[in-house]
Amino acid sequence: MSGLLIDAAVQPFCRDGREIYDYMDEVNRDRGFPDVESQWYQAPGGDYDESLYGKGYPGSDPEIASRHLFEDDGVDVAILNPRTRGNLPDFQLNTAVCSASNRWLAHRWLDEGNPHGRFRGTIRVNPEDVPGSVAEIERWGDHPLMVQVGVPLQSRDLYGRPRFYPIWAAAAEAGLPICISTNGGAGLEYPPTPTGHARTYSQYIAFMAYNYVYHLLNILTEPLFKEVPGAVFVFSDGGAEQLTPFIWKLDTLWLGVRDQTPWVDRPPSEYLKDHVRLGFSRLDKPPGDSVPIVDWLAQTGKEDVVMYASNYPFWWRNHPDDLYEGTTKEQTEKVRWRNAGEVYRGVTAEAA
């Protein structure tokens, strides 16, 4: 059906809390740091799909994950993006954890666990350590299966700010988009909403992904694309339903106050196709058939930025068929692989 299927958001995990220590550098190997499961907000029965708990954490065995993704769901290429426990107060330790994650991913998932060659990886970097991030991108940028750079959605500053540009420039130089995704709960971070902490899990999960809007509005109004014209940002947790109201407002305001941000020399919405991608999951769609999906996707160019994102192995994960009912053939192809193929290097080679 409609060619390839690229899954833009799969979270691989270590088998247990100890596994990552084997990949830590010697200086940091004896340090303690939080486990991935230490989130404040817990899904009912755990964060991950119940059927996936086996010997280790769900999503921790490349063979089982391969079976679920490639055989059961018909995915052709899966982009793996590990969690790295958010912004640890010790930024050097945080950089070491990111380095360990990259060594672990390259070894366990992109080499050992990748006989079919369908896994792609994410170079995790710590935005609180700009030179450390640049060095990490330089170290892994040539790896043929690393296809993006990953940073936490929960940052201490908006990602359009100039202090981050050296990281974005290094990523652009290597031909890698920057994926901004939820990755925290254990480190330094602001509360998930402007009025503080959510009380319940549903409150948290319904709102959390929308924090991308703050980054997006900032990215589109700072001189970022003048300074780093090749930068591409992927918000893999989705939130596409918020794109139309906010980009419409931004365009409208820009017409009146454009002189305050003269580097934005076209309507902000015109930057989206070249510079922004959003993960697309069933939680992002309008409820039921309340709105014709064809029109919904076409509105403000959502169809040019959304990419299929299963969020495997989380419990709200998608199956591919959840997403295309009622879309045009062209929209289906964009969601399944074309939009991802435009930003991720080498992922559509199998299309030939």
Binding site: K226, L255, G256, R258, D259, Q260, P262
Partner: protein, 131 residues
């Protein structure tokens, strides 16, 4: 229509021409609205050069010429920085702040949006507008 500047007391000269005011009444940096057409026409002296635009905003028809006059900021790709340019040439609509270049009638943000311009000249010490 209510406008901040007093409607200038000019005189119709012919079916096509209108005497807006005397030249000395429109020094550099000043603007007068001539009661021409349905909405009036703003006549601007920008550093000694005269321009005239319809007092009708291409956005939603606001009284464009009753707003303030500014320059604007544009990105200079060669220098890699913002520059303040077109000083005194940008009419800012009082309704939603669109910027219109009075020399061309064109919106700075969206070149497809424009308001009508008029020929204006000085003849025998008088500012003459052609409709």
């Amino acid at each position: 229509m209510q406008v901040r500047q007093p409607i200038n007391k000019g005189a119709r000269r012919s079916a096509r021409e209108y005497v807006v005011c005397r030249q000395e009444d429109l020094p550099p940096g000043r603007m007068v609205i001539a009661p021409v057409g349905k909405f009036g026409v703003g006549v601007y002296n920008v550093h000694g050069i005269l321009y005239a635009i319809n007092n009708y905003c291409p956005h939603m028809g606001g009284p464009l010429c009753s707003g303030n006059v500014y320059g604007t900021n544009l990105w200079d790709d060669v220098r890699g920085r913002a520059e303040h340019v077109l000083d005194g040439r940008i009419a800012r609509c009082p309704w939603h702040a669109w910027e219109i270049d009075v020399a061309t009638g064109v919106s700075v943000a969206d070149a497809r949006k424009r308001t009508r311009t008029y020929d204006v000249r000085v003849e025998n010490g008088e500012v003459v507008l052609t409709r």
